[in-house]
């Protein structure tokens, strides 16, 4: 018996032969079936660019707005879940209250999907030093550190406030705050490599477009896409 990290109830994880035989060992151990049901899959009909759930096959309003700025150079975002109330509460506990161990819930949610995506580099969106110091952990890299090898190609200039506290218009008006160090001593990046940006939630896309632009300015030939657990 294990206790569900979300509701605290003890439960017996479901076991399938496929899972026993597969290499994914850590999955399905943090969330009980009851809580798992509350996460809402994005479903089949999505925006072809950012994965937003839509009533009919189309391009979502956010991407239409990005098209006006970027024309054909739209960011492809991979995503799994809809940002519903349940997910909101989970993120409040994780980010605002600083309940670090919930990274395991988020890790479990995206493990399967993420192992199906093949990129050269996995770049977590950095959080401000201020927030990191207060929480004593990095919210994004904690989720992904055990799933994929992380490349810390982006740096965040400490000028911006938290996106979560802004409304839509303020979010979109946020200035670029990411920096890329090309001659990073720790990493040697291939100029034509493929990068997957990792974030938790895609709301307007502002953060991820900034991150992509920053990377793109240094690696103009690279293929850059993004991944967010929620859309």
């Amino acid at each position: 018996m294990i206790n569900c990290l979300i509701c605290g109830q003890s439960f017996i994880p479901r076991i399938s032969y496929l899972k026993i035989l597969s290499l994914i060992k850590k999955s399905e151990k943090s969330i009980c079936a009851h809580c798992m049901k509350k996460f809402e899959d994005l479903g089949e009909i999505r925006c072809k660019f950012c994965s937003k759930k839509l009533p009919k096959a189309d391009i979502c309003d956010d991407c239409k707005a990005w098209q006006k700025i970027y024309q054909k150079d739209i960011l492809i975002n991979h995503s799994i879940y809809k940002y519903n109330d349940f997910f909101h509460d989970l993120m409040v506990n994780y980010k605002r209250y600083g309940d670090y161990v919930l990274y395991r819930v988020l890790e479990q949610l995206c493990m399967e999907e993420l192992s199906g995506l093949n990129f050269d580099y996995y770049v977590p969106i950095p959080t401000s030093k201020d927030h990191q110091e207060r929480r004593q952990f990095d919210t994004i890299s904690s989720i992904y550190q055990n799933i994929v090898p992380l490349s810390y190609a982006l740096e965040k200039m400490d000028i911006s406030e938290s996106q979560g506290e802004k409304n839509r218009i303020e979010r979109l008006a946020t200035p670029q705050s990411f920096l890329v160090e090309k001659d990073n001593e720790k990493f040697q990046y291939k100029d034509e490599g493929s990068f997957l940006l990792l974030d938790d939630i895609y709301t307007t896309g502002r953060t991820l477009y900034h991150a992509r632009d920053a990377l793109r300015s240094v690696f103009p030939k690279a293929k850059i896409e993004s991944f967010s657990i929620c859309r």
Binding site: D85, D89, N93, Y97, G98, D99, Y100, V101, Q136, F137
Partner: protein, 425 residues
């Protein structure tokens, strides 16, 4: 901030050297793997290896190495004339008896458990007790597990007492003050240490207080060592009755509603088809709903799960007979919950689809109730009794209809019916 506003409070500071003021005690927030604010065993680790408490994280994370500052200094509250009570209502002889015993027990520093049927007028029975406490220059707190109950009690007490009353719950942030009388949720008790001479816990059998060790720990810490506790409930839990047996609590029983009428006995209705499908609602259920509306009563429709509310709303709004009826749905994390409940209270909404959050502590005039899937495991016998207790609370309208709809007759249904019949004997 004025330090006096923090009297009786406890709070976290991150470093040992952070300054405090005279009269404060500082202890390690986590010692020997135990959280000193909520009493939980602490296991969760940060990347640094430091442990932190997950149980009480909602009111601020406690990390190993943090300190808990407690301002439990002596403070003389004024001895208020008549305890500032301006209520001039009348208690029934039965209520009077309980009220007198509560005061007697308080003077004798004895804790009590009041077991009174839903609609017995528990709040009114508290007035004289609170007044006694305030008249002695002592500090009182009324805590309840539910925000809705805090919001229901607060205006009633502000009308009855001519002093400023503190109101605290997680949905409404403001700086603390040292009010002599406080109404708050049981979660807020974690912010107090040896603060109260009198702590009343209303609806003590309800979620999340019931069976929650952290909240029980907080309640124990919040009263002064020589303080007195009073528990109020319509459906006492076994652990409280156990304390009564051991003599730690005196049981005071009141099984008549204040208007002297019996509790409405629920109608039980067996359903063969599902209550709701992808096509619509059960026709028999729809007929029952229409009957209530036609009779001119507001209807509380209880459904077991939050995610069903939107489906019920969608189908209800399509029913031609309900075209003129204003319908809403409400659940625990609904951002507009308080407004929606208020709209129903004043009659702006006639049909409210809800979960168990409205099972207790709330009064709606003339309301009738239908419980869909009363056999669902989410309904304990306590919840079922409480839900039935929403009906017939007014003197001018002491009867009413409450219906349990079920597919399978459960033990909880049987126990609830038994309890209601017993209280009516």
């Amino acid at each position: 901030m004025n330090n006096l506003n923090l009297i009786g409070r406890q709070w976290i500071v991150a470093h040992k050297d952070s300054s405090t003021f005279k009269g404060c005690n500082k202890i390690e927030a986590i010692s020997q793997g135990k959280c000193n604010r909520c009493g939980s065993d602490v296991h969760a680790k940060l990347p640094s290896g430091k442990i932190y408490c997950r149980s009480c994280i909602g009111i601020g994370r406690i990390v190993e190495g943090d300190y808990l500052v407690r301002y439990d200094t002596e403070y003389n509250f004024p001895q208020l004339k008549q305890g500032a009570l301006v209520w001039d209502g009348q208690l029934t002889p039965l209520q009077q008896k309980i009220s007198d015993t509560l005061i007697e027990n308080y003077r004798a520093k004895k804790s009590s458990l009041v077991h009174a049927v839903t609609g017995a007028g528990k709040t009114e029975m508290l007035f004289k007790l609170i007044a006694e406490c305030l008249a002695r220059g002592e500090r009182a707190c009324i805590a309840t597990p539910r925000i809705d109950v805090v919001n229901e009690l607060y205006p009633r007490f502000t009308k009855a007492f001519a002093i400023e009353i503190g109101k605290y719950h997680g949905r409404e942030y403001h700086e603390p003050k040292n009010e002599q009388l406080i109404i708050c949720t049981t979660h807020q008790l974690m912010k107090y240490f040896h603060a109260f001479d009198l702590l009343v816990i209303d609806e003590v059998d309800s979620f999340p207080y019931v069976g929650n060790k952290q909240l029980h720990y907080a309640a124990e810490n919040a009263v002064k060592p020589n303080g007195v506790r009073k528990y109020l409930t319509a459906t006492p839990t076994t652990d409280l009755l156990e304390e009564v047996k051991k003599g730690q609590l005196e049981l005071l029983k009141l099984n008549r509603r204040f208007h002297g009428h019996l509790l409405p006995v629920p109608k039980e209705k067996l359903f063969l088809r599902p209550f709701i499908t992808s096509k619509g609602l059960n026709k028999v259920l729809v007929k029952e709903i229409i009957n209530v509306i036609k009779a001119g009563h507001p209807l509380l429709l209880f459904v077991p799960r939050v995610d069903e509310i939107s489906d019920y709303l969608r189908f209800l709004k399509k029913i031609p007979e309900l075209k003129q009826v204003s319908i809403a749905g409400v659940h625990a994390s609904d951002l507009h919950r308080l407004e929606k409940v208020q709209d129903f209270r004043v009659g702006k909404t006639q049909l409210l689809v809800t979960t168990t959050i409205l099972e207790r502590g709330v009064t709606f005039k003339h309301v009738w109730v239908i419980v869909v899937a009363a056999d669902d495991q989410i309904y304990t016998s306590h919840s079922l009794v409480q839900i039935a207790g929403r009906v017939g609370r007014a003197k001018s309208d002491p009867t009413g209809m409450i219906m349990y709809c079920y597919h399978k007759y459960t033990k909880n249904l049987r126990l609830a019916m038994k309890q209601i019949r017993e209280m009516n004997k």
